[in-house]
Symmetry: C2
């Protein structure tokens, strides 16, 4: 078989339950000798290695996992990886593992940093973020036999069944589909999509979620799907400008789903500025900014992502291992289903209202209309 | 003298410039022999140790600094320490230093973590955050002779001249004073303050900034200062409720300064809900949330804080050292002056407008007025 054998394969070959295999591995004394022998034969035959990378890690002593931390850029969606880092640090600490931070300007620099940290013996394994199709980092890590897990799919052919490495990702397709169906269930019948330019593994996945939902549930043709689809870089201003154009050109639009909270906030401002501050808008990431302004959003459940990454890397107790296999069907990856959070949004006044001289009725107007000092 | 001798003390004793002392330390060949001798005598006499802790660090080899990372809580002001961590990691990387993360539930647990990390030899020094008066962590670290620097003052008597340890902090007094004077200059004459309950080192410092500015520039009596001062915990809802009460009780208030962006956003929502969405409001921290909604805010200049922390801990080249002494007057701490950022805010519709049935004119109303599903 192309993938690594799982505990389920062993159970099937030995004609026992997964729990029995787990018992053989963890508490062999409680298993009948004949059964134990059958399981051990199956393990040898299939070359099953329980927690292969976990064992490798346990033999080392630094108990440290390293992850790249990027400079602060976008404070809205950019905080996602900070929240992941908090979850990872907390859950690693529960396992006696520490997190080491490093920086790198590009994939080549990251590989070099990993090589050095690995050579120093100070780091046992790595967590990589922001994977992309043809990622040179994961190729190098696999070839160099360095233990690692990625937050993000390999985005190659058949990631699910033949992944070349351990990964955790969030099912953006499912999340965006749920967000779109939520709006349809609440009465929206013409829902636009604000996303990133293709190709983008993550972006295209979320786009398909919207497309599938409106295709299944609404009578929209290909022309509609094209007209309702906006692609911009993940910047608030770009989203605002594009959504103003979209809404001015089509006043039947009665809902928007967006690939990020940055885009969603841009869309909220755009909607307010064309007198549509009541337009239902759903973002993605459930960012602190979104929470503060009452934006509905798809939550990536980063606790589950962090937990999944550590379980894949370090293994866990036998009973949990069984549960893991049952949940994902493959111990080499986890695809986490995100969670739609619905909120009552703050409603915005049209930005134009800000600069009208109505505010000059008192001294406040001087402030409001004053020159920017920053 | 109670404090460690500085390069200035040496310069004074040897009757030379600081630059000359720096030259003796770093490029002695360019200094005349007689001058060099005088400086060397002064160094010995005063027992001046250039970069004492830096030398200690350089003798070790882990090149690692550890810092506690807390669970995500408040996504608005709470992101401050994340932004500090980004700045610290980047600037540490420039110096070949790595950042190790750990967690701790309370000061005692943090001391225990530090003790273990120190014993393991994996960590050279520590950065502590959220210091408070009588902090047991800094007491223990000083007694244990562990190199560390705090982001936050000791908040004890005479921190500036006789600090028992290295610290960097942001001058909240100056920041809040600047914010208040900005509103006064733009025409506000009755400015409220939304802060945290006293005693709070950081909070009381910011409160004094407001109080000093309105005392100097506005004709407000003690009764006014009491009436205009709101104290709540750092929660959006609490701030909103308190500011609604404040504004309903005093319609002459024409500006608010707030001890955090969390409080400021609560104040913005409160102002909108009493029909005052034009009220000038300034926050503190320049958070991503504040940036997204156009909130004016006091920026803590975290790059400077991170750079200052590393310089204190690790020392720097001689010429920079001179500059450092000139700037702070004492190489044992840095008090960073924050920076007011003025923005054009998004204006909010009164939250009550959200639930009126006017939105039911189309299908959107079903969404808007629907039951929350989360």
């Amino acid at each position: 078989m192309d993938r690594l054998p799982t505990i389920e394969d062993v159970a099937r070959a030995a004609q026992v339950s997964r729990q029995t295999v787990s018992n053989v591995l963890n508490t062999p004394a409680i298993v009948k000798p004949a059964t134990r022998k059958r399981v051990e034969v199956a393990i040898r035959k299939l070359a099953y290695r329980p927690h292969a990378s976990a064992r490798r890690l346990r033999m080392r002593k630094s108990s440290t996992i390293a992850i790249r931390l990027d400079p602060m850029t976008n404070g809205i969606s950019g905080a996602l990886l900070d929240r992941f880092l908090h979850a990872l640090t907390e859950q690693a600490d529960d396992r006696g593992i520490r997190i080491l931070l490093f920086t790198a300007a590009d994939p080549a620099a990251e590989i070099e940093q990993i090589r050095k940290l690995r050579a120093s013996g100070d780091v046992d394994a790595f967590v990589l973020t922001a994977t992309f199709h043809g990622d040179p980092r994961t190729k190098w890590l696999v070839e160099s036999d360095v233990p690692f897990v990625t937050f993000g799919r390999p985005w190659g052919a058949d990631d699910m069944n033949h992944s070349t490495h351990l990964w955790v990702d969030v099912d953006g397709f499912a999340g965006m589909r749920e967000a779109t169906i939520h709006l349809i269930d609440r009465g929206s019948s013409r829902i636009g999509y604000v996303g990133w330019p293709s190709p983008s593994g993550t972006g295209d996945d979320r786009h398909r979620g919207w497309q599938t939902a409106v295709g299944e549930r609404l009578a929209l043709g290909d022309d509609d799907l094209t007209a309702l689809n906006v692609s911009v870089e993940d910047r608030l201003e770009d989203a605002r400008n594009a959504v103003v154009t979209l809404l001015e050109g089509d006043d039947r639009i009665d809902g928007l789903v967006c690939a990020s909270d940055t885009l969603a906030l841009g869309a909220m401002i755009a909607a307010a500025s064309v007198g549509r501050s009541d337009l239902p808008i759903i973002g993605f990431d459930n960012s602190p900014v979104g929470q503060a302004i009452g934006l509905s959003s798809v939550d990536q459940t980063l606790d589950a992502v962090a937990g999944g990454a550590l379980e894949l890397l370090l293994g866990e107790s036998g009973s949990d291992l069984v549960h893991r296999d049952a949940a994902s069907g493959d111990a080499r990856h986890r695809l986490i289903t995100p969670h739609l959070v619905i909120r009552q949004p703050l409603r915005l006044l049209a930005p134009d209202a800000v600069s009208t001289p109505t505010a000059t009725k008192n001294a406040v107007g001087n402030h409001r209309n004053g020159k920017e000092t920053q």
